[in-house]
């Protein structure tokens, strides 16, 4: 499979690029922020996503979805990133669907996700940094389980209809095994969600589980074998976040290059200064390399390759590094105007920081690669 988008994927890219730019440009996000919107995204827009089929992009055609892959999901996410569009696409249509796929839970939740009625959130982080640690407990109780513990950095956690929770049914906090994944409905008794507005004006919740009772059929996959669906969730989420980062970094770079072609200082366009040209060309190189890393991860994931996991960590780390550079150069090259709230470039810096942290930052993924390589 060649490492570029094929004709069908390019058509999809054109479609989604126009759609997001028209319906959810940066001004859409700004308006939600200025209105102090409590949901964090537009339900109407999400319905339109559903009408176009995008909510079921990773769901098989036999189950009513589009039956496409991570390359196509990434095409959508890149445009979401480029326009800083607040959307539950990554958590719901990508990560949650990947976790549920092939399990008994799929039948129950997929129709709502496809219809744009069910929003999913991912309760997997317990510390301020993403780590491979699950301390929350799920004790057997009657026919089901009781969940006790706390999760944080749960995007859409306060509005989600479905919360996917990683809890421990055996072993201790940093054990790889002994994890079970649960599909918890939002109205479960004993579950409280406190939403916090983040630097990028998106909302993430801290969730408290105080003996939340769930039935045995809330288990995603098998008891004690939650590592498998959790890994599917993480690979999809990390790859998706990488694609969104690519959009954020690319959008910031395009703004910056555009500005270099119109802004004059000392009577000449700043884009003609070699000091800035070289930094812009270096930035372009970093973004191109990041783009290749993302497509590689998506293709290997779609092929079910055993090399996918490494490629996913490379993609997440590389996009975090390249996009961080892109937004930093974006602010610097814009000069004073780049520091104003009125101008959009600052939003790119904020969003990049949130996505860089999500599902593990560059250091986390570099460390993972090192461990896998035996050093």
């Amino acid at each position: 499979m060649p490492l570029y988008l094929d004709d069908d994927q390019t058509v999809l890219q054109d479609t989604i690029r126009d759609f997001v730019a028209e319906h959810a440009p940066v001004s859409h996000m700004r308006a939600l922020r200025d209105a102090d919107d409590a949901t964090g995204f537009s339900r109407d827009l999400w319905k339109q996503f559903a009408e176009m089929g995008f909510t079921g992009i990773l769901i098989g055609e036999d189950q009513g979805g589009l039956g496409l892959g991570h390359v196509e999901a990434g095409v959508v996410l890149e445009e979401i990133g480029r326009n800083l569009s607040p959307s539950p696409f990554l958590s719901t249509a990508v990560a949650a669907v990947a976790a549920l796929k092939g399990t008994g839970q799929a039948e129950r939740w997929f129709p709502g996700i496809i219809a744009g009625e069910t929003i999913a959130a991912l309760a997997i982080d317990e510390g301020a940094k993403h780590r491979d640690i699950v301390a929350m407990t799920a004790e057997r109780s009657g026919n089901g389980f009781k969940l006790t513990g706390a999760k944080r950095f749960v995007t859409h956690g306060h509005t989600a209809d479905l919360i996917i929770v990683a809890a421990r049914t055996g072993g201790s906090a940093d054990d790889t095994d002994g994890i079970t994944l649960f599909a918890v409905p939002k109205d479960a008794a004993g579950l409280t969600a406190n939403a916090e507005r983040l630097a990028d004006s998106s909302l993430a919740a801290r969730l408290e589980f105080d003996g939340v009772a769930v039935d045995a059929d809330a288990v995603i996959g098998e008891v004690d074998a939650g590592r498998t669906p959790l890994d599917r969730l993480l690979r999809a989420g990390r790859t998706g976040a990488s694609a969104e980062l690519l959009g954020v970094g690319g959008g910031a770079m395009d703004m910056t290059i555009g500005y270099m072609k119109e802004r004059k200082q000392f009577g000449t366009l700043i884009g003609s200064f070699q000091a800035l040209q070289h930094r812009a060309a270096h930035l372009y190189s970093e973004m191109e390399v990041a783009r290749a890393a993302v497509l590689k991860a998506q293709q290997l994931l779609d092929q079910g390759s055993e090399r996918a996991d490494e490629a996913v960590s490379v993609a997440k780390a590389m996009t975090a590094l390249a996009t961080t550079l892109s937004v930093q150069e974006g602010i610097q090259m814009h000069g004073g105007i780049g520091m104003t709230d009125e101008y959009d470039i600052g939003f790119y810096m904020k969003r990049a920081r949130v996505l860089a942290e999500m599902f593990g930052d560059a250091n986390f993924h570099a460390d993972r690669l090192a461990v896998a390589a035996g050093y």
Partner: protein, 393 residues
């Protein structure tokens, strides 16, 4: 099974049978690299066996037409061959500026006679080529070259000096830029081929900071070059040169990729500083530096694959080789800085057996030329800024 699956199965079987076990081990020194040519003596029988087997299949240049000694493979088949060779860690059967630089230029600009003559010899490794581009006063400003070619009817009389001529002392033929018109800078250059054994050609190796002499000064004193050896039109050699430079940059960018079989950087660091009780490198800052470097190196591996795929499909921006050259060479310099840091005092030994004759320190110093040769990093950044980002002049 698709045709491509069948091709993969057959290729795998053929490689298993024809690639000698010795040719599946990492290259340890310059002696292990096969450059071919009239002066070439194989270092082992296996090296020759491998070259002959691959050349007979046309697989030293798998995507060239069969008529010119190639394999006639499609881009997809070429990729499969590359993947299957990588899977068994097969060495490159033939390293050659003829393959990576002159060949593509001849395929595009050469006459049928030139293709039949030169390409087949390149494919079989019979003639080793060197490149006569740079001059003492024409480095980054290459179009300022002065070596003259005077029109003498059926031949040119060439006079002048080239510099940084890689392996000129080991090459059989040279592809050379000469000035056929002094009134136009880029429009007065022609692209000619001639035998290094021609009367009037002399070479002198240049000793470098690595202690090696891969580059030479090359002098031309009334060298007769038949006009049939001119590629493309007179005074239009710059078009050929630019096209070829793209391929040179593509080749040099490959240096950013880790060699197949193990990872010398990681293995070296483990050997020197060891692992702690958690199995982590005992120097946490060195470990972090290596891990973050590896992110970029692996991402660049994907970029190289993407670049080749896009190039073959005609989707790559014509200036993209500049990006690859820039990134790959800067990456390679970074790798060798880390190799030196990981190696400690072992990596400082200049001649010892332990250091394989100072292989790492000499290579470390050699990498410093990567971002100078073939157009400096700054020239590449200028090209990206102007031709890809279309920033104002």
């Amino acid at each position: 099974m698709t045709d491509l699956d069948t091709f993969r199965t057959e290729t795998r079987a053929w490689l298993a049978e024809n690639c000698p076990p010795e040719m599946r081990k990492p290259v340890r020194s310059e002696d292990d690299v096969c450059w071919g040519g009239r002066q070439f003596t194989p270092s082992t029988p296996a090296q020759k066996e491998w070259l002959d087997a691959m050349a007979a299949k046309g697989w030293t240049v798998p995507d060239w037409p069969k008529a010119y000694g190639g394999g006639g493979l499609t881009p997809a088949e070429t990729k499969v061959l590359r993947e299957e060779m990588a899977a068994i860690k097969a060495r490159n059967p033939l390293n050659s500026f003829g393959i990576s630089m002159l060949g593509p230029a001849l395929l595009k600009y050469g006459t049928e006679e030139q293709k039949l003559d030169h390409l087949t010899k390149i494919a079989r490794g019979e003639i080793r080529w060197c490149q006569g581009y740079s001059e003492p006063n024409a480095g980054s400003d290459l179009a300022g070259l002065a070596t003259s070619a005077e029109d003498k009817g059926d031949h040119y009389l060439v006079n002048g000096q080239k510099v940084w001529t890689s392996y000129a002392d080991k090459a059989d033929w040279i592809f050379c830029l000469v000035r056929t018109d002094k009134t136009s800078k880029q429009g007065g250059i022609s692209f000619v081929l001639f035998d290094m054994a021609s009367p009037g050609v002399t070479t002198k190796p240049i000793l470098l900071i690595s202690g090696n002499s891969p580059f030479c000064e090359t002098f031309f004193d009334n060298v007769k070059v038949p006009k049939v050896n001119r590629v493309y039109e007179e005074n239009k050699g710059w078009d050929v040169a630019k096209y070829l430079l793209g391929h040179e940059r593509e080749m040099i960018s490959g240096m950013g990729l880790a060699s197949s079989g193990g990872n010398p950087l990681i293995d070296g660091a483990i050997a020197t500083v060891g692992l702690d009780h958690n199995g982590r490198l005992a120097d946490p800052l060195l470990r972090a530096s290596i891990a973050l470097f590896e992110v970029r190196a692996k991402a660049f591996g994907a970029m190289s694959e993407r670049f080749i795929d896009e190039l073959k499909a005609g989707k790559a921006h014509p200036a993209q080789p500049s990006m690859m050259k820039y990134y790959g060479t800067e990456l390679n310099k970074g790798r060798y800085e880390l190799m030196m840091a990981a190696g400690g005092s072992d990596a400082l030994e200049w001649d010892s057996d332990r250091s394989r004759g100072g292989a790492i320190p000499r290579s470390w110093l050699r990498t410093k030329a990567n971002s100078i040769e073939g157009g400096t990093s700054e020239i590449q950044l200028n090209i990206i800024a102007k031709r890809i980002l279309e920033l104002p002049a």
